[in-house]
């Protein structure tokens, strides 16, 4: 089955995931050694649980690795193969980048402006072709949410440079 498109990639991804789980386990064990144990009686200290979780993650990660190498889980490999073929990475990456930009812009631009820009931008990345409509929806959503949260719900949202205009 290795000659089918994406299958090599799928198995590779499963192996990387297994390594990531093992890596997380190592992080937990390193973290457990950094926990200071204050005086006073405790049958089980604060560092025990991180160590247990670390050991378990390493063990489970090793089992995952086994199922992606020597004892390959064929069903799972096939499932990941179809995923790998269907994935469009540029869209995913851009969508994430847009999202991070949105979070960073919330403070400086304010909620209303950031949302009015982000919504049409993100919709465009996700394949929307009617940008004017999306822009209107973005502005409407930004204004309505801002007013509802600040005026009705008493939750503060950043006004940004629209501060003099907004209530």
């Amino acid at each position: 089955m290795t000659d089918r498109p994406g299958s090599r990639r799928g198995v590779l991804e499963a192996r990387l995931a297994a390594l990531a789980v093992i890596g997380l386990g190592v992080v937990a064990i390193v973290g457990s050694t950094q926990v200071r144990t204050p005086g006073g009686y405790a049958a089980v200290g604060a560092n025990a649980m991180p160590a247990v979780v670390g050991v378990a993650l390493i063990g489970l990660g090793a089992a995952l690795l086994l199922r992606a190498t020597l004892r390959l889980d064929l069903d799972h490999a096939e499932r990941i193969r179809t995923e790998a073929v269907a994935t469009h990475w540029p869209t995913t990456g851009l969508a994430l980048a847009g999202l991070v930009g949105y979070a960073m812009a919330l403070g400086p631009l304010g909620y209303v402006v950031a949302t009015s820009v982000f919504l049409p931008f993100e919709a465009r990345i996700l394949g929307s072709r009617s940008t004017p409509r999306d822009l209107l929806v973005g502005i409407g959503l930004g204004v309505v949410v801002y007013l509802a949260f600040t005026q009705l719900l008493g939750v503060r949202l950043p006004a940004g440079f629209l501060e003099p205009v907004l209530p």
Binding site: E13, P38, I80, H88, A123, G127, F149, V155
Partner: protein
Amino acid sequence: MDVIGSLLGGFATALQPEYLLYAAIGVTLGTLVGVLPGIGPALTVALLLPVTFDLDPTGAFIMFAGIYYGGMYGGSTTSILLNTPGESASIVTALEGFQMAKRGRGGPALATAAIGSFVAGTISTLAITFFAPVVAGVALLFQPADYFALMVVAFVSVSSLVGHSILRGLVSLFVGLFIGLIGIDVLSGQPRLTFGVTELLDGLSIVVVAVGLFAVGEALYAASRLRHGQDAVVAVKGRVMMNRDDIRRSWPAWLRGAAIGFPLGALPAGGAEIPSFLSYNIEKRLSKHPDEFGKGAIEGVAGPEAANNAAFSGVLVPLLTLGLPTSATAAIMLAAFQIFNLQPGPLLFSQAPDLVWALIASLYIGNVMLLLLNLPLVRVWVKILEIPRPLLYAGILVFATLGVYSAANSVVDVLIMYAIGVLGFFMRRLDFPVGPVVLGTILGPMLEAQFRRAMSIAQGDLGVFLSRPLSSTLLLVALAVLVVPYLPRLVARLRGQRTAVPRLTFGEAPED
């Protein structure tokens, strides 16, 4: 009866016009958000959490009850008309419901789901009313060792009974436990796994984790494959109401669904997946029309929907009486309680009786409102399904950001939530279940605290978990849950059969 008196008191509170309005808003918002494809009840509750910040606790929880039921009902609409269940408990509804919709019977499918949800919801609210105070009384006898054992049962069942692989379920659970460990240890006050990052000292809130996994993870996953076109919404043609035959076939399924759903939901066994699958299989076996299954049998919608709803109510029993959330949605509800400085558990009934009984009363009211709201408005909800997918997911991301940002006004929280979203995206791709992560995050610290308390009381003797009858029984149950799914395979091997016998699973369609 004391219970009746308390309940009437609860109704007196919940029926005040102000609170009725909150309940109506909750049901409407819950349905509105729950109908959106890809959004299940857990995410609905998490996203709408900020809406309740400004209310008094009673008002907030009345609104919550509405959101909770509305989110569930909205999810079934999506499953039936779009075949994209928002959460694993609705997968079964989609099996028959979508087939009914394709054959022009979407209306009766939605109606049997709505009425079934109402019937089962009301029966199980009655059960909560009489059952919860009893459990709360028993729970007073629970010691740390017993709590620990109970949480082990919850962990084992959520990771081994749901999903394709026990191994991947356990990995998800331990990733959740890892996330739960981040921050200051409650017992010793020491920071753990923060690696010097001040923002991590308070730990990761369950809302950040759940919204990241469910909303951002789902949106990124959808983004990665949006170029493959949009699923078509099946139009609701003809009558919405059921005919006499539909009703005759539905009502026994509703009752059986409620009878299966409530007790299984009340056990710490991981929510509504198992009961809805069990109900489907039972309906299939008992049906006089077994040939219709797979082609749109109404019992296959009525039973699982009732079981789903009853189980969701059943989950409230361990949540309110033991403080134990056993599903992702319950985990968010617990977070909501904590925002209002309330600690669910055996003492909640004695310390905040007004709130508890108002909440229970509003479950009855929410159910009635849902029925009144949904049957006439079916065609409005269907319109929501037609929102273009790119705009929908962009909107989900806006609300996910809003939900996390407004909770603490922190951009760092939002970025952490996105990072967890990336984790959720890869988990979804690689077929790791996300539910165990949420449960591990919230139950992990509770499990650890009870374990360490039990060990301190027993002066470091591990035998304490085996010497107490309650905790040793519970641990045996956990072991059984881990072994039972492999029994068919084991028996087959002992008989010398060579054919592969699959492990028993719930919560996923059989692999094809």
